[in-house]
């Protein structure tokens, strides 16, 4: 185990003592874990199939065609496990299968002949929160949409922080022309109406995940850079840095061993807020139709659908609730982190 600085341990303890933030973090972690393994809970593929004495585990395997389970000679495509379940039921044989709780994947269009999507919540159909306008399960869309949104934000965070920390640190540390140059660049950059540029770019090139992360971070790196520059500026004038210098430490050593570790507290404080802004960015881009290509599960698209179909209350309710829960938990975590790293007792004077 890594030996933690007792100050860090203290901070963690303090974080834990802020119940709201601590439970939010737990909730958020569970949400992320569930979304990572969403295939086990929400999927059209069966978890286990026992057929003719053989066991199959389709969840993470290659596609298993319907032919394998005797669904017909031309059934070369993905088995419909729900149909297979019905078949097994009627056959009265040893064959059985186990479906996930929600037996739909987020792409699947579950349409009907006699009525039309969006379908309201139904226990019978196993669409517990109904479907969207194309008959896709809302829970599946929301959960998989969350997975994409949160990973989008994390990647975004990663890229912008790497760029921000590198450039910001260099700006603050070297100063002079480099600093001056980037200062002006950032001033110009941060006045660019970022969302519009992203929309323009997205409308001419249908971004994929990586591309979208890159486009958004292309405009999102300035914040962290600015913060890092300021911190570095402050840190490099502190005596412990001078002390290292007087020992003969090289600039790289000072940056990596002294300055960056001392800025981590501040960086960490900003992270949760960056994540929530990442989620909001992706959602708004999707809402406007300039995010990830259809039919990628997305909250923005669901929001758009709910605006177009206000009578289908289950769409708007679900997605809005999901957004509120996610953004509040992230914000609570952020607040608690800030509080834990920089405790300020609320003080008044008589």
């Amino acid at each position: 185990m890594i030996k933690l600085n007792p100050l860090t341990i203290k901070k963690i303890r303090r974080f834990k003592s802020i119940k709201r933030g601590y439970y939010s973090l737990i909730l958020l972690t569970i949400m992320i874990l569930v979304s990572i393994f969403a295939e086990l809970f929400i999927n059209s593929r069966a978890l286990i199939v026992k057929y003719e004495g053989n066991y199959y585990f389709p969840t993470y395997s290659n596609m298993i065609s319907g032919k394998t389970f005797g669904l017909g000679e031309n059934y070369d495509y993905e088995t419909s496990y729900r149909d297979l379940a019905t078949k097994f039921d009627t056959e009265n044989s040893d064959n059985w299968l186990l479906m996930p709780i929600i037996p739909f994947n987020p792409y699947e269009v579950d349409l009907k002949n006699d009525s039309y999507a969006p379908f309201p919540p139904s226990l019978k159909d196993k669409h517990f929160l109904g479907t969207d306008t194309q008959g896709r399960d809302i829970i599946a869309r929301v959960v998989y949409g969350f997975r994409i949104a949160i990973f989008f934000s994390l990647f975004l965070l990663f890229v912008t922080y790497i760029v921000g920390i590198t450039i910001g640190c260099l700006m603050g540390y070297t100063g002079k022309l480099f600093d001056l140059f980037f200062q002006r660049i950032i001033e110009i950059w941060s006045n660019v109406p970022f969302l519009y540029i992203v929309i323009i770019v997205a409308s001419i090139m249908t971004p994929n995940f990586i591309l979208l992360v890159l486009i958004v971070s292309f405009f999102g790196w300035t914040n962290m850079t600015w913060i890092m520059r300021t911190i570095t500026y402050k840190e490099k004038e502190r005596e412990y840095v001078l002390a290292a210098k007087s020992l003969g430490a090289s600039n790289l050593r000072i940056i990596f061993k002294h300055i960056i570790p001392n800025t981590i507290a501040i960086i960490v404080t900003f992270a949760p807020f960056s994540i929530s802004s990442g989620i909001v960015t992706l959602t708004s881009l999707d809402y406007l139709g300039f995010g990830l290509p259809h039919p990628t599960p997305s909250w923005g698209e669901l929001l758009n659908q709910s605006w177009e179909n206000l009578d289908a209350w289950w769409i708007s309710t679900t997605v809005v609730t999901a957004m509120i829960i996610t953004l509040t938990t992230v914000t609570f975590v952020g607040e608690a982190v800030r509080e834990a790293l920089d405790p300020k007792l609320h003080t008044i004077y008589e």
């Binding site: 405790p343 007792l345 003080t347 008044i348 004077y349 008589e350």
Partner: protein, 326 residues
């Protein structure tokens, strides 16, 4: 001689992460009219907290006066309603701080901040009078060109000037007591000498009492009439200034006096010193608070903090051997 302020058994505690700690623990002293009381001690000994308790300026909710009384001309400040408190604070008791830059509001001009005081405490004064009074105060604290300085901002002034402004503000209401919390610590010696002189002159002129808080025994010796020595939240010795310097009784006071390098000492000799470090408020020893660093410690010292004993007239010390030492 009459006491203008009496502090009896003051206990002030703070909420910290490790629980409540007593920063000031049963402190009693009095301030004589027209005289200067020095409170001396090292960081964390409770000298500033005592003064903040007098001003009732403890940060709420963490800082609380648990018990004791603070009598200002027989009125217990601790029992005052907030609105009555406002009539005393700044009017009868004023305070100046160590760092005048942070005590002044950087966005208002110096003049505005002084005028503010007059407006608060003398609401009937018209603006012409306020202006005159303010300029007069600035002149009184030795600010050259007060009309010009009136419209300047704190950052345009030097540290000494800023401290003069603070004094002007504190004294504009002609208070009966001025609490000066390390007023010269941030200043250079030559400036310190100016400020000390100024304070003494003003005291002579107005007859106010001063509580002078400092860690510098030299300053104490120069400006105070009576001295209180604090250590870890307790007063361990109090006496008139000449008495204290001549006949220090408590081992801590003695150690302190001996450890200061003096100009007339021989160079490069080993200085006497008190071993160990000042205890934090969280790890105050049971019994005598000074026992860990005391060279005369006996097992008796571990039992309880010794009571205050009048070792000589007007000279009190909290030590088990008040007579036996030296």
């Amino acid at each position: 001689m009459t006491n203008i302020l009496e502090v009896n058994n003051l206990v002030t505690s703070f909420q910290t992460e490790a629980g409540r700690v007593r920063a000031v623990d049963g402190v009693s002293f009095s301030v004589k009219k027209g005289k200067t009381l020095g409170i001396v001690g090292e960081s964390g000994c409770g000298k500033s907290v005592s003064s903040l308790s007098i001003m009732r300026l403890l940060p709420k909710p963490s800082g609380v006066v648990e018990s004791g009384e603070i009598l200002l001309q027989d009125n217990d400040i601790l029992q005052l309603e907030t609105k009555d408190l406002y009539k005393i604070r700044g009017r009868k008791i004023s305070m100046i701080f160590q760092e005048p830059m942070t005590a002044l509001n950087p966005v208002h001009s110096v003049g505005k901040q002084i005028s503010e005081i007059f407006k608060i405490h003398f609401p009937k004064m018209n603006s012409g009078e306020v202006l005159n009074k303010s300029v007069e105060m600035l002149r009184k604290v030795g600010i050259p060109d007060p009309e010009k300085r009136f419209s300047e901002y704190p950052h345009q002034l030097s540290g000494g000037m800023r401290q003069r402004i603070m004094i002007a503000m504190a004294l504009s209401t002609e208070p009966e007591i001025l609490i000066a919390d390390e007023p010269t610590t941030a200043l250079d010696v030559t400036i310190q000498a100016q400020i000390l002189k100024l304070m003494q002159d003003l005291q002579k002129e107005t007859g106010m009492s001063i509580i002078f808080i400092t860690h510098d025994l030299g300053v104490i010796a120069e400006v105070c009439d009576d001295v209180v020595v604090m250590y870890a939240g307790k007063i361990i010795e109090k006496a008139p200034v000449i008495e204290l310097f001549k006949n220090p009784k408590h081992p801590y006071t003695i150690g302190l006096l001996n450890s200061i390098p003096r100009l007339e000492n021989k160079r490069k000799t080993k200085l006497n010193c008190i071993d160990g470090a000042v205890p934090g408020l969280l790890d105050i020893p049971k019994g005598c608070r000074f026992q860990n660093r005391c060279e005369y410690k006996i097992s008796e010292c571990e039992k309880k903090h010794p009571d205050e004993i009048e070792v000589r007239p007007e000279h009190y010390a909290s030590c088990i051997f008040p007579e036996g030492l030296k």
